[in-house]
């Protein structure tokens, strides 16, 4: 039996790329969160590339909120440094939408400050792929190696394919999170609308001419006490309910 590492041609022998891609594609999205999806992508990236000592994924959602996963604390540190210094392979991959490979952080001149810190953390090789979903760059995934020239053309191809699948998975997980957020906001909006409708009804029963006038009165009150219309409406409904509870029943 020969070594599992093939010369350059072996697509199937060294690593089960198809299996990994299926794993990413086959997730039951309704049960997955952005966080579990990030962790999965990170672990697949670690095993998919040879001699990788750490991997990380960062995505940003519609609100500009960043989520990330890292296989270990120093990967997290190396990632955080990119944002602090505003330079680094992943930021470039993210912004340019193109793969970035560093063969040796001690000689690469593109990210001088980040390279210096990365080398101190023990990172010598980097491969970072952008996560592009529906034509939009939503983040980047990267693998780090402790020896120079860890990554070659084969790793680039593997990372590109993984990133393509991972981007779809992460974009879907984000959409799901967005959908949940919208549902929650809508429910809250309806509850507020109900409270205002109740308060309007009470005012109408007491002789206010129209719903518009009732809203005007609630808004004027809200302005006087520096509250929201919803708060005033709720206070009004509460007060009436409390009063009715106090008065003796028929």
């Amino acid at each position: 039996m020969s070594e599992p590492e093939p010369a350059a041609d072996g697509e199937a022998t060294s690593f089960d790329l198809t299996g990994a891609l299926n794993q990413l594609a086959g997730l039951v999205l309704s049960r997955e969160t952005v966080e579990t999806a990030l962790e999965l992508v990170t672990s697949v990236a670690t095993t998919a590339t040879a001699d990788t000592m750490g991997a990380g994924v960062t995505v940003v959602d519609e609100q500009g909120k960043r989520s990330r996963a890292a296989s270990n604390p120093w990967v997290e540190r190396a990632d955080a440094l990119q944002y602090e210094l505003d330079e680094g392979p992943c930021l470039t991959a993210w912004r340019s939408g193109e793969l970035v490979r560093i063969d040796d952080t001690t000689t690469d001149g593109r990210f001088p400050r980040w390279n210096e810190w990365a080398a101190r953390l023990g990172v010598r090789s980097v491969l970072s792929a952008p996560l592009v979903a529906a034509g939009e760059s939503i983040g980047a995934m990267k693998v780090y190696g402790e020896r120079p020239s860890t990554y070659g053309e084969r790793d680039e191809r593997v990372m590109e394919q993984l990133a393509r699948q991972a981007a779809i998975l992460l974009a879907n997980a984000q959409s799901l999170r967005e959908a949940r957020r919208h549902t929650r906001q809508l429910t809250e909006a309806l509850a507020s609308r109900d409270a205002i409708a109740h308060a309007t009804g009470i005012l109408l029963a007491r002789g206010t001419a129209s719903p518009r006038d009732a809203f005007g009165a609630l808004a004027a009150t809200a302005r006087r006490v520096d509250r929201t219309v919803e708060e005033v409406a709720r206070a009004l409904v509460d007060q009436v309910t409390a009063r009715d509870a106090d008065s003796p029943g028929p």
């Binding site: 909006a189 609308r193 205002i196 809203f215 005007g216 007060q239």
Partner: protein
């Protein structure tokens, strides 16, 4: 203040309150507004007209958004309780007053909201 440039004011306030059109529409619906998101977007762009009441609801929604921003930026005083705005008793009293003497007919409401320069 003509009705024509009110949408500009609301649009400017929306940006200041850092609300997306979607967020503003939702806040407006929460207050009882009945236009859809396209009506609101179109109104803000000056290509759709909203009736005065819907405009008022939208103005209230954006004003509450602005109030949130200012409230979050307020600096608390060392003497706690002072400067925190209305006290709860205040709200009770004023609501009580509102219940005792609800406005009956459309009175000429003060144009308080339009006093401030944009």
């Amino acid at each position: 203040m003509t009705r024509h440039d009110r949408h500009h004011q609301i649009q400017a306030a929306r940006l200041r309150a850092d609300l997306s059109v979607q967020d503003l529409w939702l806040a407006y619906v929460a207050l009882g507004g009945s236009g859809d998101a396209f009506d609101v977007d179109g109104y803000l762009q000056g290509v759709v007209s909203l009736d005065t009441f819907e405009q008022d609801v939208l103005a209230q929604a954006v004003n509450e958004g602005l109030a949130d921003v200012y409230r979050a930026a307020r600096v608390p005083l060392s003497t706690s309780g002072i400067g925190d705005g209305a006290v709860p008793g205040n709200l009770r009293a004023i609501v009580e007053h509102l219940l005792e003497q609800p406005p009956r007919i459309a009175d000429a409401r003060d144009e308080g909201a339009t006093d401030d320069p944009p």
